[in-house]
Subunit: 221 residues, 2 copies
């Protein structure tokens, strides 16, 4: 019985890692759409979100079946519960990619701005955090999860720098307020994605160590 | 056995409603701190967040014990899983109250602005949505949940109006960029709280009806 259950758990892990890969692609495409001011790519990101939503539901239903059929206890039960919550977090990160894609579409309606903020660098950090947070669950690896939590600081700082730069530009180029606020929103959505990755990592740390490393307000805007 | 389990479920419902009440108080205090530019009230909101985090963990642990002890199936199992997810959403709404309190503290460092946006009106809608979404779970009331989803439109519109007003002010009063961006962030955090309430309501609709009414990107900024 236990062998069957663990085979099912392994299957769930594969599905979650696949969903994580799709969400990373969505974020990559959304950021590309912003940098290239590409409304067609933005549209593709929005349309693909429905697939993510559907797969989230499928994964949750499989997890519920596992709970009903095998009635796991102790650490196995905690793992499946953490898994369900993290599946939900991935779907919400997918939603943030759609938000970013919408900003890309809005930006394509304005003249290009020379913007001294590195959205691409911020995105690379966020992508790594999302991937590593889900890996930390699949491997039940608390050290990797703790590392993800530490990296949240870096993304917070990148967002702050972005905000400061944009505030200065708003003061000197008030006519560019609309596109500037779109870029600010992009950096904020990336920072929220990093916060979700941190939430995932904290769930893994609690699963393995039985305590929350920090429990502060996420997503300070 | 079933009587014992349903007694435990009733106890969990009471705890969740109490947590919901505390989160509403946090949001109320945070908004009050913004309107009054009161850093002391902002500090109290930040300190109280630890209590919310602790209670979220206690509620989840009780739910896990229920799962292990009574091994519910079918609708009872789905209810407990929905309950765990919604408990988590409430804790994140509490985090948004802390975000708002931080904006209040920042605002207290600037001269007061005459701001033609009605933060209080937005807050009242959000508070009702949060309360009704948790009530809809406790009552497993899909009609109430559907009503909460419809009200999300109103809050989205209030946030858009706020953004448009602030964009105009940024263009005409660029020297006020810092406090103006703080107010924008407050409206955005309130809109995110409304999105969490909508997520809760959607979980209830799925629980009762077996389908998601809409599955769009939440929290469009």
């Amino acid at each position: 019985m236990s062998i069957h259950m663990h085979r099912e758990i392994d299957q769930l892990k594969v599905s979650l890692l696949e969903l994580c890969g799709t969400v990373e692609e969505q974020l990559a495409d959304a950021v590309r759409a912003v940098l290239d001011r590409d409304p067609n790519l933005a549209d593709r990101v929005e349309r693909r979100d429905e697939e993510i939503d559907r797969r989230e539901i499928e994964i949750e239903e499989s997890a519920l079946k596992l709970l009903a059929l095998y009635q796991p206890v102790a650490l196995d039960l905690r793992f499946v519960i953490a898994f369900i919550k993290i599946n939900n977090d991935l779907e919400r990160i997918g939603d943030l990619a759609v938000n970013i894609a919408r900003k890309a579409r809005n930006l394509s309606q304005f003249e290009p701005l020379r913007l001294p903020v590195d959205i691409d660098a911020m995105w690379k950090n966020v992508k790594a955090m999302v991937r590593d947070s889900v890996d930390s669950l699949v491997q039940t690896n608390a050290e990797l999860a703790e590392e993800v939590c530490r990296r949240d600081e870096i993304v917070d700082r990148q967002k702050r720098d972005c905000r400061v730069t944009i505030e200065k530009l708003l003061a000197t180029q008030p006519e560019a307020v609309q596109p500037l606020l779109q870029y600010l929103a992009v950096s904020r959505n990336l920072e929220r994605a990093a916060d979700h990755a941190t939430n995932i990592a904290e769930d893994v740390i609690y699963l393995v160590r039985g305590r929350i490393p920090r429990h502060q307000a996420a997503g300070n805007l």
